[in-house]
C-alpha cells in the first residue's frame, strides 16, 4: 500500500516537474493578448474568418494581420470585445453574406440523373449524373448540411435560399458546394462582380452591357416583390428610371422566347418596377459599405460618371462629382428630350444617388475651372474621367455657318437648358442616329410645320432605335433617304433658304456591313427649309488636355477619334490614377453601356485604391457569349403576344413635351413577366410541359 502510494506520488511528481520545467524551457513567447482575444471570440472553430481556428485568428488579430472584426460568428459585439482587448477602434468591416446564383432549381430533375445519389458532392464526382447543365444547382442540399447556423434551406423552387438574419458569412456552404452556386460575398464583392465564363447566365443577362440579372428581377416582379426587383437592378444599374425609358434593350434581341415568339418586353418591366418605386412615394433604402476614407473625383455627371460614383460610394469610398453643365445628368438631361425622359423623373433618380452621400459641384469645367493639379492637391486618390462626347461633327459643306444652321447635341442641349432659339417653319435634320431623330421630334414639338430627316442610306441602315423611327413616322416626320447634303444655300441676309443634296445609291457593303452609299452624279436637288440641323455624330471634347496646365496631363493619350485611350478591360488610362468610361472612352454609345462602364471603372478604381494590381476579373465575359447558351430553336414555347407599350396619342404629343411612352399597367406587367421563360444558362421553364431532359436525349 505504502509503496504504491509513494510510487504514484513519485510518478505524478516527476511528470509535474518535467512539465513545469518543459513549459519554462520550451516556452514560446505568446502575447498575453492572444489568449484574451481568443477568450472573447466565439470559439466555434468554424474557420469562417479564413484562419485555422479561433486561436490562429486571435494571433492574427494580435499581430495586426486581421481586424478586430475578424470573427464572423460573434458579429459586432464580438468585434467590440476584441477591440476592447486590443485597445483599438472597431473597424467597420462588412459582413459577408451567402447568396445563391442559380435559379434553375425546380428544373434540377431535368438536368441531372440522380441515380439514388443523395449528396451534391457525390453527384459532382459522378460525371454520368450530368444530363444537361455543367454549372447549375444540383439541389441535394450539401450547403444546408454544411450550415451550422440553420441559415440555408432548399427553397420551394429547389435551390438554396439563405436567411440573411441567420447567416454569419462563415463560408461553410460555399466550401461544401461543388458547383460554385452558393457564394459568400460582402456587399462590395457582390457589387463588383462581373459576368464570368462559368456563371449560370441567361442569354439576356449575358448581353446586357450593365450585366443586370434580368431573369431574377422579372421573377421577383412575377412574385409581386417589386422592391426586391428594384434592388436587384440597383446592384448593377443606378439609373433604372432613365434606362427603363431610353434603353434600346439589346437584351431583348437575345431573348430566348424571341427565337420562337416575340421577345419579352424586358425594358418595359424594368420601367414598371422603377416607376413603382418612384410613385410609391418613398425611396427603397440603398445600403453602402462602411467608409474606407478614400476620396475619388468623378469628372462628368453623366450616366457613366453617376454610375461610377454610385458604385464607388456603395463600396465605401467618398466621391465628389464635378459637372460642367448647370445640372447633373449629362446626355440624359441635355441630349435626351423631355418627351422621352422627363426632367422630373431624372431629378428624382439623381437625387437618390446623391442621397448616398455624394457631393456634386456643377458649373465647373475640367481644364478651365479646375485641373488635375488642383484635384491632386485637394487629396483625391483617383480620378474618373467621364466627360462624354459633346462635340458635334460638322458636315464640312459650304454654308454651314448660315443663320438657321445648328448642330445636333448643341441644339438639344440649348433647348433642354431652356434657351429660346429663333426657330424657322421648316427644318431638315441631317443624320440617321438617335440624336437626329431626337432633334426632329423636338422640332415638331416646338411648333415647326414640316420636318425632314435627310439620311444618306435607307431606313434599314438607320442606326436610331426602331421604336424611335416608328414614333417619328407616326408624328409625321418626312424622311429623305439616299441623300447627301452638298450645300446650304442662304439669302442675302445670310439666312438659310434651301438645303441642296445629292441623290445616292447603295453600293457594296463596307466594313460595318452596311451598304456603302455612292453619289449619283448630276442629281442635285433642293429642299426648301429655313433650318438645318446636322446630327451626324459626336466626339469627346478633349480640350481640357490642352487647357490644363498640369504637365502630367500630356501623358494622357487620346485615340484618333479623340476618345480617351484606355485599357479596354480595366478602363485605366495612360495615367494610372485616371480611369475612364462612357462616351468619352467609347465614342457615342448607349446609356446602358456607359452605366456598365462606370461600374467596371469603379472596380478598377477600388483595386487601385487598395494598392492591388489593376487587373480585369478572371474569366470575365465582357459581353462575349457563352456558346452553349445560345440556341437556334426553343422547344415548348406557346406563342403569346407581347405587351403593347401604352403611349399618348399623336395629337397630344405634338403640342407639348409630355412623355410619350407610358408605363405598363400592373396587370399587363404581370402578364408580360409570365411570358419570361426564366432562362438560365441552358435550362428554362417551357410554356408547355416539355421536358428539358428529352431535348438532351
Amino acid at each position: 500500500m505504502i509503496p504504491a502510494l509513494l510510487l504514484m506520488l513519485g510518478v505524478g511528481g516527476v511528470c509535474g516537474i518535467v512539465l513545469s520545467l518543459a513549459s519554462k524551457i520550451f516556452y514560446v513567447y505568446e502575447d498575453p493578448r492572444i489568449a484574451m482575444v481568443e477568450g472573447v471570440l466565439a470559439g466555434a472553430n468554424c474557420g469562417g474568418c479564413g484562419y485555422a481556428g479561433c486561436s490562429a485568428a486571435a494571433s492574427a488579430v494580435v499581430s495586426g494581420q486581421a481586424p478586430a472584426s475578424v470573427c464572423v460568428v460573434s458579429g459586432k459585439t464580438g468585434a467590440e470585445a476584441v477591440a476592447k482587448v486590443m485597445g483599438v477602434e472597431v473597424g467597420n468591416a462588412e459582413a459577408p453574406l451567402s447568396y445563391n446564383m442559380c435559379e434553375g432549381g425546380s428544373r434540377a430533375a431535368d438536368k441531372y440523373h440522380y441515380m439514388g445519389v443523395s449528396s451534391c458532392k457525390a453527384m459532382a464526382v459522378v460525371f454520368g449524373g450530368k444530363r444537361l447543365c455543367g454549372v447549375g444547382c444540383i439541389g441535394l442540399g450539401d450547403c444546408v448540411k454544411a450550415c451550422v447556423f440553420g441559415a440555408v434551406k432548399i427553397g420551394p423552387k429547389g435551390y438554396p435560399v439563405v436567411d440573411d438574419e441567420k447567416c454569419v458569412g462563415c463560408g461553410a456552404c460555399q466550401k461544401a458546394c461543388p458547383k460554385n452556386i452558393i457564394e459568400v460575398k460582402t456587399l462590395s464583392e457582390r457589387l463588383m462582380k462581373f459576368n464570368q465564363k462559368n456563371d449560370p447566365l441567361a442569354p439576356c443577362a449575358q448581353t446586357c452591357p450593365a450585366e443586370i440579372n434580368i431573369p431574377l428581377y422579372i421573377n421577383q416582379l412575377k412574385e409581386g416583390k417589386y422592391k426586391e426587383a428594384v434592388r436587384t437592378i440597383r446592384l448593377r444599374n443606378p439609373l433604372p428610371l432613365a434606362c427603363g425609358r431610353v434603353c434600346p434593350h439589346p437584351c431583348e434581341d437575345e431573348c430566348r422566347r424571341g427565337i420562337e415568339d416575340e421577345p419579352v418586353s424586358i425594358n418595359q418591366l424594368k420601367r414598371f418596377v422603377s416607376d413603382y418605386e418612384m410613385n410609391s412615394g418613398s425611396r427603397i433604402p440603398i445600403t453602402c459599405a462602411p467608409d474606407t476614407g478614400k476620396k475619388i473625383a468623378v469628372i462628368g455627371g453623366g450616366p457613366s460618371g453617376l454610375s461610377c460614383a454610385f458604385f464607388l460610394r456603395r463600396i465605401g469610398h467618398q466621391v465628389d462629382i464635378f459637372e460642367a453643365m448647370p445640372k447633373l445628368g449629362g446626355m440624359l438631361r441635355y441630349g435626351i428630350p423631355e418627351y422621352r425622359l422627363p426632367k422630373k423623373v431624372l431629378d428624382w433618380e439623381i437625387q437618390g444617388i446623391l442621397d448616398l452621400g455624394i457631393k456634386s459641384f456643377c458649373y465647373v469645367k475640367f481644364g478651365v475651372d479646375f485641373g488635375l493639379g488642383s484635384l491632386m492637391a485637394a487629396g483625391y486618390n483617383a480620378v474618373f474621367l467621364g466627360v462624354g462626347a459633346w462635340e458635334d461633327f460638322s458636315l464640312g459643306i459650304e454654308g454651314e455657318n448660315l443663320e438657321g444652321c445648328f448642330t445636333g447635341i448643341n441644339f438639344l442641349q440649348r433647348i433642354s437648358g431652356g434657351e429660346k432659339i429663333k426657330l424657322g417653319r421648316t427644318a431638315a435634320v441631317v443624320g440617321g442616329g438617335n440624336t437626329a431623330v431626337d432633334c426632329a421630334r423636338t422640332l415638331l414639338r416646338l411648333g415647326l410645320d414640316k420636318v425632314y430627316m435627310v439620311y444618306r442610306r435607307t431606313r434599314k441602315e438607320m442606326p436610331a432605335n426602331e421604336v424611335e423611327i416608328i414614333a417619328s413616322e407616326h408624328e409625321g416626320i418626312e424622311f429623305v433617304f439616299l441623300a447627301a447634303p452638298t450645300r446650304v444655300i442662304g439669302d442675302d441676309q445670310n439666312k438659310v433658304t434651301h438645303l441642296e443634296y445629292l441623290k445616292m445609291q447603295l453600293g457594296e457593303p463596307d466594313k460595318s456591313g452596311r451598304r456603302r452609299p455612292e453619289p449619283v452624279e448630276g442629281t442635285e436637288t433642293l429642299l426648301a427649309v429655313d433650318m438645318v440641323i446636322s446630327a451626324i455624330g459626336q466626339s469627346p471634347d478633349a480640350s481640357f488636355k490642352k487647357q490644363d496646365p498640369q504637365p502630367r496631363m500630356k501623358e494622357l493619350e487620346l485615340t484618333k477619334w479623340n476618345t480617351i485611350d484606355n485599357n479596354p478591360a480595366t478602363l485605366q488610362s495612360s495615367i494610372p490614377y485616371i480611369f475612364t468610361a462612357g462616351d468619352a472612352a467609347t465614342g457615342p454609345s448607349l446609356v446602358v453601356e456607359a452605366i456598365g462602364g462606370g461600374r467596371r471603372a469603379a472596380r478598377s478604381i477600388d483595386l487601385f485604391m487598395k494598392g492591388k494590381a489593376v487587373e480585369p476579373m478572371k474569366d470575365s465575359l465582357q459581353k462575349k457569349r457563352i456558346h452553349e447558351s445560345i440556341f437556334t430553336h426553343v422547344d415548348g414555347v406557346k406563342k403569346t403576344p407581347r405587351a403593347k407599350m401604352p403611349e399618348i396619342s399623336v395629337n397630344e404629343r405634338l403640342d407639348s413635351f409630355v412623355e410619350v411612352d407610358l408605363v405598363l399597367p400592373e396587370v399587363d406587367a404581370q402578364k408580360e413577366a409570365e411570358r419570361c421563360l426564366n432562362c438560365c444558362r441552358i435550362c428554362y421553364n417551357p410554356d408547355t410541359d416539355f421536358p428539358m431532359a428529352k431535348k438532351a436525349g
Binding site: A4, M8, V11, L19, A22, S23, F26, G116, V117, V126
Partner: protein
C-alpha cells in the same frame, strides 16, 4: 530480425488495433470523414504511440516491476502518457513549429486515447523487449493509420450510395467498420 518482421505483419494486419482489437474507435469514427484529416490523425498516432510505447516499457521495467506494484500499470500509464503528450506538444511548438502546425490539433485528441494505452498494456502483457515494444508500437500505430485511411476512403465513397435514413452517417460507418473487420479476419492464420 525475422521475428520482428513477423511481429510487424501481425500487428498491422492480424491484430490490427482497430479492426481486431476494437480499440481507438472514437477517433476512428470522428476523424475518418475526410481523407485529409484521417492522414493527419494517422501520422500523429504513429508519432505519439512510438514515444509512449518506449516510455511505458521503461516505467514498467524499472519502476513498477522492482517495486512489485504492476497492478498500478493502468493508472500510472494514463498519467505518464497524458504528461508525455503535453510535453511533446510544448516541445514541438518550440522546436519544430512546422510539424506542430500539421500535427498540433490532433495531439490533444490522443492524450487519453484507448488505442495508445491499449498498445502499451499489450506490450507489457506480451513481455516484449524494449526494441520489440518500440517496433510493435510503431506497427500497431501503422495498422491504426491503415485502417483509418481505408475507412476514410470508404466513407467518401459511401456518399455516392443511397443509404436508408435510419442508417445514415455513423450507423452505416459502424456497419462498414464491421465488414472491414471481417475482411481483416482473413489475415488470421497468415503467421
Amino acid at each position: 530480425m525475422g521475428d520482428l518482421f513477423v511481429l510487424v505483419i501481425s500487428c498491422i494486419f492480424i491484430n490490427n488495433i482497430l479492426l481486431a482489437q476494437y480499440l481507438g474507435n472514437c477517433p476512428f469514427l470522428g476523424t475518418s470523414k475526410k481523407m485529409e484529416t484521417a492522414i493527419g490523425m494517422a501520422m500523429a498516432v504513429i508519432f505519439v504511440l512510438v514515444l509512449a510505447g518506449g516510455l511505458t516499457w521503461i516505467l514498467n521495467e524499472y519502476m513498477l516491476k522492482p517495486m512489485d506494484v504492476v497492478y498500478l500499470q493502468t493508472l500510472s500509464f494514463i498519467l505518464v502518457i497524458a504528461a508525455l503528450v503535453q510535453f511533446v506538444e510544448m516541445f514541438l511548438k518550440k522546436s519544430i513549429p512546422a510539424l506542430y502546425g500539421s500535427l498540433g490539433i490532433y495531439l490533444p485528441l490522443i492524450t487519453t486515447n484507448c488505442a495508445v494505452l491499449g498498445v502499451c498494456l499489450i506490450n507489457i502483457k506480451e513481455e516484449y523487449t524494449f526494441i520489440e515494444s518500440l517496433v510493435t508500437s510503431f506497427a500497431y500505430a501503422a495498422g491504426f493509420g491503415l485502417a483509418l485511411v481505408l475507412f476514410a476512403g470508404v466513407r467518401e465513397r459511401i456518399l455516392l450510395a443511397r443509404v436508408p435514413k435510419p442508417l445514415q452517417d455513423v450507423s452505416i460507418g459502424l456497419i462498414t467498420a464491421g465488414i472491414i473487420a471481417m475482411t481483416f479476419m482473413s489475415f488470421k492464420g497468415m503467421v
